[in-house]
Symmetry: C2
Subunit: 250 residues, 2 copies
DNA sequence: CGCAAAGTTGAGGGATATCAACGAGTGTGG
DNA sequence: CCACACTCGTTGATATCCCTCAACTTTGCG
């Protein structure tokens, strides 16, 4: 109860009070175990530290994107929250790991980071940082967003692998693929599966037989129409229902 | 046979021959569906296009990191290759998606990208780009590597979820956690599990009961010693064997 | 001490991997 | 053009893994 209660009472954005120490760029580099190599080191750059109590959230899903955080001590869990309330743990970041990277593209955090013990993080003011690039920064901003977008996608994939049953996985894949085609200007209900069943199975954490059976059952049920690589989604709603029937949800 | 043979005959680094068109920054932005917003747009920046035939690899795991690629048309699969040869499909990138981001940190690609149909990509010269940052670039380089590192981690996680059985997942988790503690200067065989069995189950795509049972069996077998959150790895080799006993490995 | 959350253990069943055989599609060479 | 080889895909029977449900124990905390 303590943890749960604490979790709901979480205060966000509370800066470490007095005695807020800070880290230099070199110290941060050492913490992150990333060599500065030939990178030119600037002076005067420093990073404020912030303490997070056990059970407290550093940020929540949906929060406006602000800084990213380098963990100096302690342990967190990052959680992807489903719309209905089920959740998927994405990782257990510890000292020298980074929190908040997923928020870059959409400009709000997609996940939630909760401290599993009393912890300490260095605040890295990403938005300000991104505006320092100046003239040469356009492409760099691009790449930030691309990387962040990629992270978000893989979180979805981990959710799919971690909390859905076989048929739900296949159904979710078809819906997601449809959306991607739609964004490219193609039909979202009629497209080709360019990959083999084996590749699809590997991607979905299933055998090719299970993939094939799922597609066949959907076909029999009139949810889709499939012949080899040609696929047509007949009943989007039913596919979504199948996805909703997660295995061990919550 | 055709595909397999082609896959092995793959030629890397062959530039598109004559008629190699190119894209402007604005065109690239449109392709990637990323708004340039208030970003200052430079002129004279252009990106060469390259064609990739079906079955050909754009790059291989272990290759020296070079450019990243924006897909203009076609479909790829990205694959994580295990040391012994088993593989895990990580995704099916299509037009407007990016390839090669995972290579930034280690300076060599960790995955392999194979065209599932004849495709076309724009070459984004990342290394050159990274050096343009100038004075304000130190932090930015940081963040690139951090993002890339994070991607690599999540690829491992997808492999774990996609191709290991329950006990192998738990075993792999313990070994990986040990390595992480070791990098922080702690023992890699004696540490605390700061998360609950439920969180661990969510992370590993298992129920808490299955996690608990796996730990108990390891304990009975003398592979580990566990009491609540305290954990000691007794026999690293056996744990590694358990990981090697993947479920549907290939 | 007493309650609530966390963890463990057991019994049973359902979901999915495995094994096996067959059919369909595709490129190759006669 | 057709037979062949080979990959890919489908379908069925069976085994097994892991989830579900349930009871109990342990731990943490007021």
């Amino acid at each position: 109860m303590q943890q749960q209660a604490a979790l709901h009472d979480t205060e966000i954005g509370m800066q470490a009070p007095s005695g807020a120490a800070s880290l230099s760029l070199n110290e941060l580099a050492a913490l992150l175990k990333i060599g500065l190599d030939d990178i030119k080191v600037e002076h005067g750059v420093s990073f404020t530290l912030r303490r997070v109590q056990q059970g407290m959230a550093l940020y929540r899903a949906g929060d406006q994107f602000g800084p990213i955080y380098a963990i100096r001590s302690g342990t967190f869990k990052t959680v992807l929250l489903d719309v209905n309330g089920s959740y998927q743990v994405l990782g257990f970041p510890m000292a020298s790991d980074i929190l908040g990277l997923d928020g870059i593209e959409a400009q709000h955090y997609r996940t939630e980071a909760v401290a599993l013990e009393d912890s300490e993080v260095a605040i890295i003011p990403f938005p300000r940082l991104a505006h320092l690039g100046g003239k040469a920064g356009a492409l760099q901003q691009f790449v930030y967003r691309l990387l962040s977008r990629q992270l978000t996608r893989e979180h979805m994939q981990m959710w799919l692998l971690g909390s859905l049953g076989a048929e739900s996985r296949v159904a979710a894949f078809l819906l997601i693929l449809g959306e991607r085609y739609a964004r490219l200007g193609y039909s979202d209900t009629r497209f080709n599966l360019r990959m083999t069943r084996l590749d699809l199975g590997s991607f979905l954490g299933l055998t090719q037989e299970t993939v094939s059976r799922a597609l066949s059952r959907f076909d029999e049920g009139g949810v889709i129409r499939v012949h080899n690589k040609e696929l047509k989604i007949v009943d989007v709603d039913r596919l979504q229902q199948i996805v909703a029937n997660a295995r061990h949800s919550v």
